[in-house]
């Protein structure tokens, strides 16, 4: 299991992980005081959808009308996260429960959209999981979730940073960072809407010289 986790961590710097990792990071930052909840929900939803597709229990093409629907979901998720964050900050009679549910809903929408778009590059551990998933779907659920926990470790780190340091929390909650966090989610929506995954992520890969 540790090998699976480590492979997931190593995969997080691969170009093919950007479509999942960047929106997850954006959502976590937008989660502000609910960053931990957001990171966990994104992980759970994206993992479950990726697993269902690997197991051929679900086949949803993230393009065309469905892509447009998922793009809308991603943007809605960002709006919900933004709203819950600013409700908390504004402090007008914060309804904690409502804020948590907004965070969960927003994270689920973004995690779902990103999870359906994600196209993994497959190392040995993930290869074993994916090869076995159609035949043994339930046996591969936990390994795949562990892999994704590794891949999304950066989001967990951001969430932990939010809670562990006032300075870091203040920086993460600053307006420029919050607006910056919207960019990958808007990018996700644009990719889903236009179907130009290869061009947009490819340009990002080229620009960042990740590969």
């Amino acid at each position: 299991m540790t090998e699976i986790l480590f492979e997931g961590i190593r995969a997080s710097i691969e170009p093919c992980s950007l479509a999942l990792l960047l929106p997850a990071l954006g959502a976590t930052v937008l989660g502000r005081r609910r960053a931990g909840v957001v990171a966990v929900v994104v992980w759970l939803i994206a993992g479950c959808l990726a697993w269902a597709q690997a197991a051929v229990l679900l086949s949803i093409p993230a393009r065309g009308p469905i892509g447009a629907f998922l793009a809308t979901a991603a943007v809605t998720g960002a709006v919900l996260l933004w709203r819950q964050g600013h409700r908390s900050r504004a402090g007008h009679g914060p309804d904690i429960l409502s804020s948590v549910w907004l965070a969960i809903a927003g994270a689920a929408l973004i995690g779902g959209a990103a999870g359906l778009l994600w196209r993994p590059c497959v190392g040995p551990e993930l290869g074993t999981i994916l090869s076995a998933a159609p035949g043994q779907p339930f046996a591969q659920l936990i390994p795949l979730m562990i892999y994704l926990a590794g891949l999304l470790l950066a989001a967990i780190a951001v969430a932990a940073l939010t809670y562990s340091s006032r300075i870091a929390a203040r920086a993460i909650m600053s307006m420029p960072v919050q607006i910056g966090a919207l960019i990958p989610i808007v990018g996700l929506a644009v990719i889903l809407l236009t179907g130009r995954y290869g061009q947009i992520i490819g340009a990002l890969v080229k620009a960042s010289s990740v590969s």
Binding site: R10, T128, A160, S211
Partner: protein, 268 residues
């Protein structure tokens, strides 16, 4: 309290990341060290249990009905997901995955049974070929063919190349009964340019034919369902039937053994 927990989580995350990125990547090092002749040792971490496990359940069902029955009983937990059964004498894997041998009472030689997942979907509507005199898989009929769906920018695809290169060299570099066809299905726009593909192939030492599947039609035809994965490696027998299917890196020993078995025994 929450701050302490968060700090602890942060430390754990940093440690995990440090270990993941600094430890020896077993997969990469194994790939670089292995040659196609090293088929007697199996690394469970890279070989894994996933060998012939097509996404298409119908195809798998067909395989189980068309194959001759194995001469040995198979355990319930492996028979459904590990249809490829290779000569136990040739691999340490067999001693791990196979049940106790009960047929020793007879003196029959151990039969090799390699799952048959039916005919390959073929390569249609390609965008051309590189490094090739052939224009279709059908022209390679009579040969054992490894078909790999790959794209040059994918690091996991690159990691499989040392084993493929060794396998290619071992079995005649396309001159004999063995061929490799790389079906290049780009993930990103910059991977679509044939000039970039040629340059990458030269840099990586890929000398086998490359089928250009720029619009990824074949990539999806070969991988039923929504998901398509890079890399995915198949072995076709002389009749064009799929006898090996693996997603991602790893399973090099099974791949090499399947090729060797199919080349050694044309009746398989």
């Amino acid at each position: 309290m929450a701050r302490l927990v968060a700090a602890a989580v942060l430390i754990i995350v940093v440690v995990l990341a440090a270990v993941a990125f600094t430890r020896d990547d077993g997969a990469a090092s194994l790939v670089s060290q292995r040659t196609a002749t090293e088929v007697t040792t199996v690394d469970r971490a890279t070989a894994g249990p996933g060998r012939v496990d097509p996404a298409d359940g119908e195809r798998q069902a067909e395989a189980t009905t068309t194959e001759p029955p194995p001469t040995k009983p198979t355990s319930a937990d492996t028979s459904t997901t590990e249809p490829t059964v290779l000569d136990p004498a040739a691999s340490g894997l067999a001693t791990v995955t196979e049940p106790p041998q009960t047929q020793t009472a007879t003196d029959e030689p151990m039969r090799q049974v390699i799952a048959n997942n039916g005919p390959n979907p073929g390569l249609a509507d390609l965008d051309g070929w590189l490094q090739s005199d052939v224009n279709s898989l059908a022209e390679l009929g009579g040969k054992v063919v490894v078909v790999q769906l790959w794209t040059f920018g994918c690091s996991n695809c690159q990691a499989t190349l040392p084993n493929l290169k060794a396998l290619y060299a071992q079995h005649g570099s396309g001159e004999g009964d063995f061929e490799i066809v790389g079906v290049h299905a780009p993930e990103f726009a910059y991977e679509e340019d044939p000039a970039n593909i040629s340059a990458a192939a030269a840099a990586e030492g890929v000398t086998w034919p490359i089928a250009l599947d720029t619009r990824r039609r074949n990539f999806h035809d070969w991988q039923p369902g929504r998901s398509g994965y890079w890399p995915r490696t198949y072995v076709l027998d002389r009749q064009g039937n799929i006898r090996f299917d693996h997603i991602g890196e790893g399973a090099y020993d099974e791949l090499n053994q399947t090729v060797a078995a199919l080349l050694a025994d044309p009746a398989l």
